[in-house]
């Protein structure tokens, strides 16, 4: 038996989840399980209680009202990937999802699970950072909304208390047409990337930059927006090299797989690549 002993709970409603979370000691929430199940199999995580969210139907939804997008935390990554309306509103999401694990893991993996696990190289938190998404969190004592910029509190540590559940994510899609690109460098397809770069770009009729958002994943414990590059691009003809230089200046972590200096170099190269693609797409109507 690989996973450690625990008591299994499979509540059907959010309020049942919250009362379990509020009353049980050392409980762990199980979303898609594509990160937690390995950790259980390795016994890195030893919960006394496992609260399975997979039967809480009210947490799985995709709602598009104009440019307002709302997604339930238990929405499968595959469901997001397959949704054509969502791909029209936020084309970067489908491109980034193609880099999230493999299609077999995306069949189970959820957006809320990705955001709560908060792997430094995870693509979905990066995309949410591009959109300045808001995360809705609930506990038995109330609700709060957290901006994505305040979500990461440290290495694999979201802004979530022990009795809180991430219930949904919402954001504003960019006006169409706009350009997008999500590119990353990983040793093998589907592996966690050393660095990933996401970019949204919209242009004025004279092709100067109207709006830009650039995010790096894999360089720090949470996604980093390259605000300095976004600012310097505004209102001017696209200066890819200047933006890439800003991305290279972001401090990057060193680990077993890549040094900080190498990650900074990658950040520059990938930012240039992402901007070039986003620019071409923006010019040709998204």
């Amino acid at each position: 038996m690989k996973p450690p002993p625990f008591t299994y709970h499979d509540p059907r409603t959010v309020s049942d989840v919250l009362s379990l979370l509020g009353s049980l000691e050392n409980a762990k929430l199980l979303a898609g399980g594509q990160s937690l199940a390995p950790m259980l199999n390795f016994r890195y995580v030893l919960p006394d209680h496992l609260i399975d969210l997979n039967k809480v139907d009210e947490l799985a939804y995709i709602k598009i009202e104009g440019r307002r997008i709302r997604v339930g935390a238990m929405t499968r990554q595959r469901a997001l990937e397959r949704d054509d309306a969502l791909a029209r509103a936020c084309p970067i999401l489908r491109e980034a999802l193609a880099e999230v694990g493999h299609f077999q893991t995306r069949n189970r993996g959820t957006i809320g699970g990705s955001l709560s696990h908060l792997d430094p190289a995870a693509e979905l938190p990066g995309v949410m950072a591009l959109y300045d998404a808001h995360l809705e969190v609930q506990s038995s004592s109330g609700k709060r909304t957290i901006g994505i910029a305040d979500w990461g509190q440290g290495y694999m540590t979201p802004n979530l208390q022990a009795d809180e559940l991430l219930t949904g994510i919402s954001w504003e899609a960019w006006e169409n047409p706009h350009g997008h690109a999500f590119v990353e460098f990983a040793r093998r397809k589907g592996d966690f990337a050393a660095v990933g770069v996401g970019c949204l770009l919209s242009l004025n009729p004279d092709q100067t930059v109207k709006r830009a958002a650039i995010v790096l994943v894999g360089v720090a414990y949470a996604p980093v927006r390259v605000m300095s590059a976004e600012r310097l691009l505004l209102g001017k003809a696209l200066d890819i090299e200047a933006a890439a230089a800003e991305a290279r200046r972001i401090e990057a972590k060193s680990d077993l797989f890549a040094s900080g200096a190498y990650r900074q170099r990658l950040a520059g190269v990938l930012t240039a690549r992402a901007l070039r693609t986003a620019f071409e797409r923006a010019k040709s109507g998204g």
Binding site: M1, Y8, G33, Q34, A37, H102, Q104, N107
Partner: protein
């Protein structure tokens, strides 16, 4: 010990069993049902050998609990051939193209590609390679597996 009684359909057969809730689906299939065609390699979701079909979708059986399969339809590699033993077009193509050597990754390749070809009946070679990027094979170098998938796709489209 935390236990539950679960009922599920495995390869078309209705099954009810009492399981320990912490048992993962791959172990359940192999140990409780004797369906040892599903191979367990890494047990952390990387190798893809344990891939099964859950309500027709390819998933890692090592990354879900048996209790989570309650009420669902599971297809393992044993369930891919017809009841009379005739190989599926994909299995036949693996045979003809020599798409396996040691056979350890084969169950995961077959289930993965069964789901993939259902969704994409006319894939490019790149798309096939992308589809099996989550299934590790240490023998073949993948060339014959890719050839088998493309050959099966042609046959299933009625082109060969």
């Amino acid at each position: 010990m935390d236990r539950r009684t679960i009922s599920l359909t495995v390869n078309g057969k209705r099954i009810t069993r009492d399981v320990e809730t912490r048992q993962h689906l791959g172990d359940f299939l192999r140990r409780e049902l004797g369906l040892t065609g599903t191979h367990l390699g890494c047990e952390h979701g990387v190798c893809g050998a344990c891939t099964i079909l859950l309500d027709g979708e390819a998933v890692r059986s090592c990354l879900m609990l048996a209790v989570q399969a309650d009420g669902r339809h599971v297809t393992t590699t044993e369930g891919l051939a017809s009841a009379d033993g005739a190989l599926s077009p994909l299995q036949q193509a693996f045979w003809e193209e020599h798409g396996l050597q040691c056979g350890f990754c084969t169950p995961g390749m077959l289930t993965t590609l069964t789901a993939f070809l259902r969704e994409n009946p006319n894939p490019t070679e790149d798309e096939v390679r992308d589809a099996i990027s989550g299934n590790l094979c240490r023998c073949t170098g993948y060339a014959n597996i890719v050839a088998a998938a493309l050959s099966a796709a042609r046959r299933m489209r009625g082109e060969a």
